[in-house]
Symmetry: C2
Subunit: 205 residues, 2 copies
DNA sequence: CCCTACATACGTACCGGTCAGTAACATTGT
DNA sequence: ACAATGTTACTGACCGGTACGTATGTAGGG
């Protein structure tokens, strides 16, 4: 936690188009580069250069590169749950349809040429060390996802809801990874279909 | 390709315990460190230090760090197919049992505390750049795995064998990733069970 | 209304350390 | 002799991070 960036309260009242604070530009660029190329692959010099700012500006808003990476992932986390809840809200009271809707979109996204998997998953692979700021955010996201998937599996009436929830999680992570490994026409395209089969089998147990 | 390491033909005839060539020691240490900590996270200095050799020795046997990483993955590839074929050979003519046997072992391995996922998958995440030596090896491994899984799904008599084969691949990759994310008690423990359900559903279409 | 006073925001220039990789030469064992 | 290894020292680039000076806007005091 900590990091006093973005207080943005005060009386500011920006005139509709703020002058784009340095911290925002940095985070935007970091998000893009970290996701596409990997966190370890990108140096802070590259980030500040592309953001059109200088290094001290970065370290005034973020205490370290690791914390910048964690901030990137917190932003990613927000966007992730937006996408997830969008699928959920589209099918109120129908967890099976919610999952399938979500996975249909995941499957589509994995087929885009610039697809690079899940930023959370990738960060966890890059930073296996326990307690690393980036990994902490990543793990929290995955634990919550598991919790929700299991809850949805239970709501479907699955006999073994935890197993089904975990199975769905495996399919999702598999889609993230194989999406960036195989690209277009890869196995990730069938994630919704396979999830549907798995759900069917788990309900008619 | 290229890289003239390990010719190990000639008349050598080692006396049961070779003096442990520098290249072998390097590759062993690299395998261990690259797998546990990641390729980008480990420098060549660390490798030569732990191997008890010097840097020129490394660069006499391997043209670059990237090629050393590729060699590590080629070794990993061999070991992978050994494990895979072990499960296959244990159940001749029964592809379903072969898959379940393999996944049961994968599920068990993912529960070990030092488990760090699949070296191939991790390397592909670390090196998204097309054509990178490490990524090339990794991709080849995954393409072959997909081919074999689809063939086994067809041998099971699945109506849509490609979808089932891809679904199994998704589960496997999901197990690799969530194994290192969740550790003990994570979703990867249920990979064999979920695969069995998916197969069942795909056969009784 | 002008001048100071202070905070905020940013830039220049630099730090020591580590990165991958190499040159030139000495040592060993067969 | 010769092939494999070690020794030492070095390169230029880059790493994350920082000390320190500078512009700008704005609040008060005369």
């Amino acid at each position: 936690m900590s990091s006093d960036n973005n207080i943005e309260a005060s009386i500011s009242e920006v005139p509709a188009s703020a002058p784009a604070k340095a911290a925002d530009k940095i985070l935007d660029v970091a998000r893009d580069l970290f996701y596409r190329e990997g966190i370890r692959a990108i140096g802070v010099d590259e980030i500040v250069k592309r953001a059109g700012v200088t290094k001290p500006s970065l370290y005034r808003s973020f205490p370290s590169k690791d914390e910048l990476a964690a901030s990137y992932l917190r932003k990613y986390d927000l966007e992730f749950w937006e996408r997830f809840d969008e699928a959920v809200d589209a099918h109120p009271g129908d967890p099976r349809a919610q999952i399938i809707a979500f996975l249909t979109r995941v499957g589509k996204r994995t087929q885009r040429p610039e697809y690079r998997g899940c930023g959370m998953t990738n960060a966890a692979v890059e930073y296996p060390e326990r307690g690393h700021p980036a990994r902490v955010v990543s793990e929290a996201n995955k634990y919550e996802l598991r919790r929700r998937l299991r809850a949805m599996a239970a709501a479907m009436g699955a006999a073994d809801a935890d197993t089904l929830g975990d199975g769905l999680l495996l399919l999702i992570e598999g889609a993230y990874i194989s999406g960036q490994l195989f690209g277009l026409g890869g196995p990730a395209a069938s994630v919704a279909r396979n999830a549907d089969l798995l759900i069917e089998a788990s309900l008619n147990k």
